[in-house]
C-alpha cells in the first residue's frame, strides 16, 4: 500500500460542514500536497494547485447489478491524476450532499487502474447534529453515508443539548459500530484524526467502541421485583416506540451476574414471535414474549400471579425511557431490587445496523469463501460494508478482509506469532440476523 496514493472521501448532507472541514484540511496540513476533487461547488478559501470539479456520473456495469455501480467521473479523473502522481501526496474527494458512498467505494475495488494507484484512506462523514435525526428518518441517503463511514464527525454539537448528543451517539453507533465518532464544533475535528485513518484498524475499533465484543442483546434493561400474589399493573407513562417487547421470568439469584445468566437463556425468546398485548390485556410469564402495543399514551398492562415470587423483567428499552413502574392493587409501587443494563443490538428502529461476529480458532478457507460468496450474492445489496480480521488455517498472518456490497478484498495483515488465533467480522447492513450470521460464521471453523 506504501506506493499508493491515499484518498479521503468527505461525505455528508449539504450544510453539514464538508467545505469547512475541507478548508481546514488544506490550511492545516502544512507541506502536504493535496489534490481536491469536488463534486459540489464549495468555497475553497485556500490557494490550491489542483482542484478538479467533477460531475457525479454513476455508471452501471453491464451485468446490470446495482451493487456494481461505479463512478465514471472518478475513473476518468483518477486515471488522469495517476500520470501526475509525483505532484501530490494525497487526494481529498468531496461528494455531493446526497451522494451514495457505495459507487465511490466500489470504484476502488472494480477499476484496475484506480486500484493500482490509489486506495481509500477513509470515508469521513460529516453529521449535522441538529438535523441528522430528521435526515435519518426521511431517507436512505443519510443512513448509507453513516453506514459507509470510517469516521463520523458529529458537527455543530454546540447547537444541541448533551442529552441529544448522547442519544445521537447511540443511534450512530447502532448503525455503524466501527466508525469513530468525533464531536466537533465548526468542523473543528483534529485533522490528524481525519486523515491517515489507514483503512481498518481493529485495535482502534476496540479502543473506541468497548462494547464491540460484548454480545448484543435484544433487550436493553432488566430489573428484579418481588411480586405479590394477585394482580400487579405495569404502567408506562411515555411511549417512544409503538411496540415494546417484554419478558417476565422467575429468578433466584438477585445479582447482576444472576441477571446476565438468565439473559443468556432468555435470548432466543426475543427472536420468536410474541403475543401482542393491548393496554388492559393480561401479561404472560416466560416462555412467552409479550409485545406491548404502546401506541396509546399511559398504557396499563396487568399481570396476575397465583403465587407471589421474585421475577426479573427484561424490556426492549429501559424502564426509564418509558417511565415505567409496577403498581400493586393497594396503589403502592413495587420497589426495584436490582437492575442491569445490556448492550442492545437493536437500540433504535433503524434497519441498518452493525453486526459483530467473533470466534476462536482457525477458519477453513474453502468453507469461509463459500459462505461469504453465497451471502454476498444474495444479501450484497443490503450489506454496505464488511470488515474483518480472520485466522485462516495454514496462514501465518492475520487476514484482513474488507468488502463493499458484493465486492470483497483480502490482504495479509500482521503475523500471528504466539498470539491465540481468533477471528472478528463486522457487517454493517440492513435487516441482518446477527444470530444466524454468527452461527454460519462458526460453521466455517476448521472441523
Amino acid at each position: 500500500m506504501a506506493d499508493k496514493i491515499p484518498v479521503t472521501v468527505l461525505t455528508g448532507f449539504l450544510g453539514s460542514g464538508k467545505t469547512t472541514l475541507l478548508n481546514r484540511i488544506l490550511t492545516e496540513t502544512h507541506g502536504a500536497r493535496i489534490a481536491v476533487i469536488e463534486n459540489e461547488f464549495g468555497e475553497i478559501g485556500v490557494d490550491q494547485d489542483l482542484v478538479i470539479n467533477a460531475d457525479e456520473e454513476i455508471f452501471e456495469m453491464n451485468n446490470g447489478c446495482i451493487c456494481c455501480t461505479v463512478r465514471g467521473d472518478l475513473i476518468r479523473i483518477l486515471g488522469s491524476l495517476a500520470k501526475r502522481r509525483d505532484r501530490f501526496d494525497r487526494i481529498v474527494l468531496e461528494t455531493t450532499g446526497l451522494a451514495d458512498p457505495g459507487p465511490v467505494a466500489q470504484t476502488f475495488y472494480v477499476d484496475e487502474e484506480v486500484r493500482e494507484h490509489f486506495f481509500i484512506d477513509g470515508i469521513v462523514t460529516l453529521v449535522d447534529a441538529k438535523h441528522i435525526e430528521q435526515h435519518l428518518d426521511e431517507g436512505e441517503e443519510a443512513i448509507a453515508q453513516i453506514a459507509f463511514a470510517d469516521l463520523l464527525v458529529l458537527n455543530k454539537v454546540d447547537l444541541v443539548g448533551a442529552a441529544d448528543i448522547s442519544r445521537l451517539h447511540g443511534r450512530l453507533r447502532a448503525i455503524n459500530s466501527l466508525a469513530c465518532v468525533l464531536p466537533a464544533y465548526m468542523a473543528e475535528a483534529p485533522i490528524r484524526e481525519v486523515l491517515n485513518i489507514g483503512g481498518f484498524d481493529l485495535d482502534r475499533a476496540l479502543q473506541t467502541n468497548p462494547q464491540f465484543l460484548e454480545p448484543e442483546y435484544p433487550f436493553e434493561w432488566a430489573g428484579v421485583f418481588d411480586f405479590p400474589a394477585g394482580t400487579t399493573t405495569l404502567h408506562f407513562e411515555a411511549n417512544p416506540d409503538p411496540v415494546h417487547g417484554i419478558v417476565i421470568a422467575p429468578i433466584v439469584e438477585t445479582t447482576e451476574q444472576g441477571l446476565r445468566d438468565l439473559a443468556e437463556r432468555l435470548f432466543p425468546l426475543f427472536s420468536a414471535s410474541g403475543q401482542s398485548i393491548t393496554p388492559g390485556q393480561y401479561l404472560a410469564v416466560a416462555p412467552e414474549l409479550c409485545e406491548l402495543d404502546t401506541t396509546e399514551p399511559l398504557g396499563q398492562y396487568p399481570l396476575r400471579l397465583e403465587y407471589g415470587g421474585r421475577y426479573a423483567v427484561f424490556t426492549e428499552h429501559t424502564f426509564e425511557e418509558f417511565q415505567g413502574y409496577w403498581q400493586q392493587q393497594d396503589g403502592r409501587r413495587l420497589p426495584l431490587l436490582a437492575e442491569c443494563l445490556f448492550n442492545p443490538g437493536h437500540e433504535h428502529d433503524d434497519t441498518v445496523q452493525s453486526v459483530s461476529l467473533a470466534c476462536e480458532g482457525d477458519l477453513d478457507d474453502a468453507k469461509l469463501n463459500r459462505w461469504l460468496g453465497v451471502l454476498l450474492q444474495t444479501r450484497g445489496t443490503d450489506i454496505f460494508r464488511m470488515k474483518g480480521i480472520l485466522a485462516i488455517e495454514g496462514a501465518d498472518s492475520r487476514i484482513v478482509l474488507q468488502g463493499v456490497h458484493m465486492l470483497m478484498d483480502e490482504i495479509p495483515g500482521s503475523l500471528w506469532g504466539t498470539a491465540a488465533h481468533h477471528s472478528r467480522l463486522v457487517f454493517i447492513g440492513r435487516n441482518l440476523d446477527s444470530m444466524a450470521l454468527q452461527a454460519s460464521f462458526e460453521a466455517c471453523l476448521v472441523a
Binding site: I52, E57, F59, M61, N63, V70, S80, K83, R84, D111
Partner: protein, 347 residues
Amino acid sequence: MIDPHFRPLLDTRLDDCPQAMAWSGDGQLLAVGGAGGGVVVLDVESGQALARWHAHEAGLFALDWQPGTHRLATSGQDGYARVWQPSTDGFEQIFAVRQSCEWVEHCAWQPKGRLLAVAAGRQVNIYDPAGKLLQDYTYDDSTVAAIAWRPAGAQLALAGYNSVWVCSPQDSRSSPDRLRWRGSMISVSWNPAGSVIAAGCQDATVHFWRLRDGDNSQMTGYETKPRQLAWSNSGDWLATDGSSDVILWSFRKPGPEGMPPTTLRMHRKPVKTLAFAPKGTLLLSGCAGGTICLWNKLDDFVSPLASQRSEAGVELLAWHPTVGRKMFAAACADGDVCVYTLPTVMR
C-alpha cells in the same frame, strides 16, 4: 533481450509523464505533450527540439497537427483548446477557444479536412481553422470519454456512457446517429475504410458495429478494460490491450464473431500502447514494464526491441507517417522520448 544495435536515432526529455504524441502529416515534426502541460516539438531532420513551451497551465490532455500544416492544436485543464504555429522563436498561439468546463479532454483535426473537434465534459464543439464555432453537440448520458474522426471522412464518433454518437458536423441539420450499447465506453476507433466502429468498454469488453447493416457484436475475455484499439492499414486486424498480452482480432471474412483472437504473448506487464505501421502488418506494442515489442502478423516474427533506459512504462508509440521510413517514436512515463528507425534486418 536488449538488441545492442538498436539505439535511438534521437531523444529528448519531457518534465512529465507524456500524455499525447503526434507526427505532423509530412513527418517533419514530432509533438509530445506532458500531463503537466508542457509541449516539446522535435525536428526530425536536425534532431533538435524546435520548441519547448508550457501550453496549458494546469495540465495537458490532447494534441493534434492540422493535416497539411504545421499548426498544432492542444487542449488541457485550463478550460481552453489552443492552436499554435511555428514562429521565429518557437511556437506562437494563433487562437484559443474557451470551453464550457475546465477539463478539455479531447481535440482532434478532421483527417484531410479543416474542422477541429474539441470535447469538454458533455460538450463537443466543432471549429473552422480560424477558431469560429460551426457546430456543437451535447452528449446526454455522461462526459464524452473519447472522440474519433472517420478516416478520410466527415463524420465524428463520440463515445461515453450507453451510446456511441456518429455526428456529421458539416450537415448542420442532421442529428447524430446513436449506436446504443449498455455500459461505459472509454475509447472509440474506426477501421480505415470507415465501415466499422469499435469501442473499448469499462466492463472489459470491446464492442463493435458494422455501419452498413447495423450489426453489432461484443468481444469478451479481457482481464481489464481495453482502451487501445489499433487497426492495421488494411483493416484486416484490430489489435487491443486489456492484459499483458496483445489481443489481435481478425476482421477478414467472416469476421471476429465466434473466432478466438490471436494472442501475442511477450510482455510481462500490462500493455499500455499499440501502433500499427502506416502500411503492412508491423505492429508495435509497449508495456508498463518498459518493453517495446515489434510483431509481424504475416510471419509471426516477434522481437523485443528495446528495454528502455529505465523501467518506466511505455506510455505512447507512434509510427512515422511516411510509408517505408520504418521510423517510430516512443514516450515513456519518466519523460523519456526517443525516435528509432528499424534496423534493416527487421524490415
